[in-house]
């Protein structure tokens, strides 16, 4: 990345409209997640709920770099990826309510967000299981001569699974345009990266499979966006995989059942200082690209969207029990 001295972490230049767009996207995710946590305690949302608060810049920066025809594969911590990709907050919220108006008809819940219009292939809750999927999606594109890129999100924990290594090798061997995005938030549940990996440099791991790779500050949306654009361009132009490690941090517990015994409050606080939203707001204000009135307007716009999403979910309907065994096999005719 070219470092111009604008005082921003990334040094990237940004125009006002685009800056507001990025901030808006991150605020949508943040407020959506906060609302989800609230609704969980009200028992409107059940099952496992994994929030991506703190990691918004990764989802937003990456999705900015993708074209509508590209594919996305994500994990169970995917509300942010789904929102940034363009799935409506209402469809996601209704899904978490278990309503049939949800994007997966209430069959999937928080961990299994799917959408065909944006080519969003989950919502995968077996750690590592999305990587081979992404390889296959890219293989199909290659076989059919399409110029699409498949963007695959996964956590640092997935790097320990065999599927990570098998997928890196396959994608490089077969020269497939997969963008592997490691959302490295330093922990897999309670297991810190250095207690899970004998060598913690993930970029080097990917490189050992001949996959072009780099790391970026995942707390700075402008850096992430710039890196993502380079990576997507590379994958599309060269028909090769790219591994992008986004160094980020989750501010909340792993899920709603985590007493967080494995990290200190001080550590979390330190990372919060570098939060992607506060950082961007501070930077834009300093550069005269954002004022309090504009920020308040963005917040209000987001609040309205989330209110509508909750209302949509509340007014949603339960799928009839008679339909229980639908979607086990395809319905023809």
């Amino acid at each position: 990345m070219n470092a111009k001295s604008t005082g921003s972490p990334s040094g990237a230049q940004v125009d006002r409209v685009h800056a507001h767009h990025l901030l808006h996207q991150m605020l949508r995710i943040r407020r959506f997640e906060e609302k989800s946590a609230e609704l969980y305690t009200l028992m409107k949302i059940r099952g496992f709920l994994h929030l991506c608060i703190g990691e918004e810049a990764v989802a937003v920066g990456l999705c900015e770099a993708l074209e509508p025809e590209d594919g996305v594969v994500a994990t169970y911590r995917e509300h942010g990826n789904a929102l940034a990709r363009g799935i409506s907050a209402s469809a996601i919220m209704a899904e978490m309510y278990g309503k049939q108006e949800g994007c997966s008809r209430g069959r999937g819940g928080s961990m299994h967000i799917f959408d065909n219009k944006t080519r969003f292939y989950g919502g995968n809750a077996i750690v590592g299981c999305g990587l081979p999927l992404a390889v296959g999606l890219a293989l199909a594109d290659k076989m059919q001569g399409r110029k699409r890129v498949t963007c695959c999100f996964f956590g640092d924990g997935a790097v320990a699974e065999g599927e990570f290594h098998e997928s890196m090798n396959l994608a490089a061997l077969w020269q497939l345009p997969v963008l592997f995005v490691c959302e490295n938030n330093l922990y897999a549940m309670g297991t810190a990266l250095e207690r899970a990996q004998s060598a913690t440099d993930l970029v080097r791991k990917a490189a050992s499979y001949n996959v072009a790779s780099s790391a970026v500050d995942g707390m700075d949306v402008l850096s992430v966006e710039a890196a993502a654009k380079e990576a997507v361009t590379f994958a599309r132009r060269e028909h090769k995989p790219y591994f992008l490690e986004c160094r980020t941090y989750r501010f909340r517990a792993h899920s709603m059942f985590d007493p967080e015994l494995y990290r200190s409050k001080a550590e979390v606080e330190k990372w919060k200082q570098r939060g992607p939203i506060v950082t961007l707001v501070k930077q834009l204000k300093k550069q005269g690209l954002l004022n309090d009135v504009e920020l308040e307007q963005l917040e209000q716009q987001v609040a309205r969207e989330i209110e509508e999403a909750v209302a949509f979910a509340e007014n949603g309907t339960w799928e009839p029990v008679e339909d229980l065994t639908r979607f086990v096999y395809s319905e023809r005719g």
Binding site: S104, G162, E319
Partner: protein
């Protein structure tokens, strides 16, 4: 402590006590799995054990199910007595190769030279709205495999007592702990210890119908039996406890006196353990039957998230009651 002293305990604590006792009794025992230590166990079963026994014996692993299960097999071959914890049965599929192709076959492939004294614990089952990658009941599937034993402790006594017997077994033993039982609370003798792992138990005697079940469905069957008793129908409830080897003698004997059998299994019907039980009844008690054997199983669908659909996908008390009534009243 006095012999009759009872303590109040949850299923989770009973399993924890069993692990603690094993670690104290045998220094070859160690616990191996994802987040069993620092995090305190994904379902808080192993909470506090790291502090008590240290990281050599409460071993956190990376997300590498095949790797650490295989390592457990290797350690067992090397003279240790590992307890491998896999978070849920769905994730055990990443280790299915090691379980089936190594653990279950080693003794046989080596012509009896190498046995694998390994215990693998995992959670199973639905009811928590965890959807299709965290809720299945695949224990019946594992029961298909010769070379391993498959335990499904339902009661506090079995949660407390099966582990030690499993560790004493020279061969691989899989223990399935149903997610919805972890918070179940009750009384257990303070000196509760090992229990057998090869016999089914009659949890409620009755003369009109044998209900054959295991795991969390046991309590649904018992609840149904209580309701049916109010209507003059006496149900005998059999807790299989162990799915392999299957103690068919116990349910065949029961059927010889009740002449009716209903199987309740949270697993899928087609090709499931319920089909095996049904076949054993056909082979061993066909002429005792006054009515066709019936089954209440998990619906043939990946587990849905929405609560009402999840409930509809699992055996429920109501269905047991109506089916039992129909079976008993349609006099043979």
């Amino acid at each position: 402590m006095s012999k009759n002293e009872m303590i109040q305990i949850t299923y989770r604590e009973a399993v924890r006590e069993a692990i603690r006792e094993a670690l104290q009794r045998d220094e070859r025992v160690f616990l191996l799995g994802e987040d069993v230590g620092r995090y305190g166990g994904c379902f808080a079963v192993s909470k506090g054990l790291l502090e008590e026994f240290g990281p050599e014996r409460i071993v956190d692993t990376p997300l590498s199910e095949s790797g650490f299960t295989g390592a457990g097999i290797g350690a067992a071959l090397g003279g240790m007595r590992p307890i491998v914890e896999i978070m849920t049965v769905n994730f055990s599929l990443l280790a299915a190769d090691q379980i089936l192709n190594n653990a279950a076959t080693f003794l046989h492939m080596s012509g009896g030279l190498f046995n694998v004294p390994l215990v693998i614990r995992m959670s199973t089952g639905g009811g928590k709205q965890l959807a299709a990658q965290h809720s299945h009941s695949l224990e019946g599937w594992y029961a298909h495999i010769p070379g391993i034993k498959v335990l499904t402790p339902a009661t506090l006594e079995d949660a407390r007592g099966m582990l030690w017997s499993a560790l004493e077994d020279p061969d691989p033993v899989l223990i399935f702990e149903h997610q919805s039982l972890l918070n179940m609370e009750g009384q257990l003798p303070a000196d509760a210890g090992a229990v057998d792992i090869d016999r089914a138990r009659i949890r409620r005697p009755g003369s009109d119908l044998s209900v054959i079940t295991y795991g969390a469905s046991l309590f649904k069957a018992l609840e149904a039996a209580e309701m049916l008793a109010g209507e003059g129908i006496e149900v005998e409830v059999i807790d299989l406890r162990t799915l392999r080897p299957l103690d068919d003698a116990t349910f065949l004997t029961s059927i010889a006196s009740t002449h009716r059998a209903l199987i309740v299994d949270e697993g899928w019907r087609s090709g499931g353990i319920s089909a095996e039980i049904c076949a054993r009844i056909m082979e061993g008690a066909f002429y005792e039957l006054d009515a066709p054997v019936e089954r209440i199983c998990g619906a043939e669908v990946p587990m849905p998230y929405a609560k009402h659909l999840e409930e509809a996908a699992m055996p429920q008390v109501e269905a047991i009651v109506t089916t039992a009534k129909r079976m008993v009243r349609s006099n043979g």
